[in-house]
């Protein structure tokens, strides 16, 4: 494989053909701020925070580091007054959308942003697209980026609660500004987006203790992904806690009942 000679912030390093600037920078412990990057998902260059300067040949140009593959010898500048100037504007715009994000607030202080410059939208979403990409990777049927340009927003199809959601919570976990919420109420798991219910997933009720526990409709897909598609998914009618306790009781009975030391209540607590 061809090796490229890259000058990264004045330091000569080598890169593999097709490696992105962000990967290279992380390899050499150069920090580039990102919001929409996740190692598990394909780069989308939605937040634009990772913009860096690249000089390939004659002219400098500004590119997003997360999805720019290096194909020629080049010089990369990740932190110069020019790059910081551009990034400052991006942070100011993102802060106007979402002033509550701690990560953005840190960056705003770091870059000396003027927070009065743009009228705050208080939308609380930075349109990084992580939730839709995560949803696509898991099931791809609940969240989408609807609209275009300034009107783009995260939404469910036809703005109605989705019936395809499996309640995995990947969107909640991945959201960099904690905008998507998940709660388990009245025997159903709700994904809440823009303060509106985006999906409802019925939670199974434990036949032993009566508590509701995690959704089981995704188990089949989980088993398939693990390459265990021949094994039927566990028939979960009992919650994990009860299942563990029942097993402890069973084992206790089998091994200790004959000695007369087994008491069901005591074992249940110990197990």
């Amino acid at each position: 494989m061809k090796v490229l000679n890259i000058i990264l912030n004045g330091k000569a390093v080598t890169a593999k053909m097709g490696q992105t600037i962000l990967e290279l920078a992380r390899e050499h412990d150069v920090f580039i701020p990102t919001l929409c990057d996740s190692p598990a998902l394909e780069a989308a260059a939605m937040c634009r925070l990772c913009t860096v300067q690249v000089i390939e040949g004659k002219w400098p140009k500004y590119v997003t580091a997360c999805n720019f593959p290096l194909r020629r010898d080049a010089e990369v500048v990740t932190d110069s007054p020019d790059v910081r100037h551009g990034r400052k504007l991006i942070i100011e715009l993102l802060m106007a959308r979402c002033p509550t994000s701690p990560e953005l607030q840190r960056l705003a202080v770091d870059y000396g942003c003027d927070l009065e410059r743009f009228t705050p939208l208080n939308d609380d979403c930075v349109i990084c697209g992580l939730c839709t990409r995560a949803c696509e990777a898991v099931t791809g049927r609940t969240l989408s980026l609807a609209g275009r340009g300034v009107a783009i927003h995260v939404d469910t199809a036809f703005q109605k609660a989705s019936t395809f959601c499996i309640g995995c919570g990947a969107c909640v976990q991945i959201c960099p500004v904690q905008k998507i919420k998940m709660e388990d109420v009245d025997g159903e798991r709700r994904i809440i987006l823009h303060g509106k219910i985006a999906s409802r997933v019925k939670l199974p009720q434990c036949t032993s203790c009566g508590k509701y526990f995690g959704p089981v409709i995704d188990l089949k897909q989980v088993m398939e992904r693990m390459g265990e598609h021949l094994i039927p998914p566990p028939n979960a009618t009992v919650c994990p806690e009860c299942s563990r306790r029942n097993l402890a009781i069973k084992l206790g009975k089998r091994y200790f009942e004959q000695y007369g030391v087994f008491e069901e209540e005591g074992q249940a607590n110990a197990g």
Partner: protein, 170 residues
């Protein structure tokens, strides 16, 4: 697309009955059920109903095995797709620079006032949809009004009044 008449001509309100055999004809026979032809199928469905009914989109998603969210993304991305019912006639007023200078803004206002609808909206009897477009490429004959894909060059209030009188008489 031969022989497919507009299916919702007799329908008064927003209730649309979906003819699934017609959808099947479009999806499976006209375009072979290939997901690559999704946009063409959506255009064909829109030609039948003048918008994309939710049930038709759901059926399309099932048949070509594309997630509903993907189709929704496409439908909201392109301005030519509409998820809301459109009127029988679509009146587009060009508000590009040349037309604007020749008074298309006043024409939009006039239609809005007379028909009681804002630009981009449809009258409650589903007769007329008023739209504004940015340029139709006929600046020499500005201001331009497009009614059901027919161009009316050098339009004025009288042209519009004529049209609206005919519409109201129907």
């Amino acid at each position: 697309m031969s022989g497919t008449a507009c299916a919702c001509q007799e329908i008064e309100c927003g209730e649309i009955e979906i003819d699934y055999s017609l959808l099947d004809k479009i999806i499976r026979y006209d375009y072979g059920g290939n997901r690559e032809a999704m946009i063409m199928m959506m255009q064909a469905i829109q030609r039948v109903y003048r918008f994309l009914p939710e049930d038709a989109v759901k059926y399309l998603s099932q048949v070509i095995e594309v997630p509903l969210t993907k189709i929704y993304e496409v439908a909201t991305f392109y301005a030519s797709f509409s998820l809301e019912p459109k009127g029988k006639y679509i009146l587009s007023v060009c508000t590009g620079t040349a037309c604007h200078l020749r008074g298309s803004g006043g024409m939009v206002e006039h239609i809005s006032k007379r028909m009681g609808i804002a630009p981009g909206k449809t009258t409650s009897d589903l007769k007329l949809t008023l739209e504004t477009v940015n340029c139709v490429g006929a600046c020499a004959v500005a201001p331009v009004v497009v009614i059901d894909e027919k161009y009316y060059p050098k339009a004025n209030i009288a042209t519009l009044n004529d049209f609206m009188d005919r519409l109201n008489a129907e």
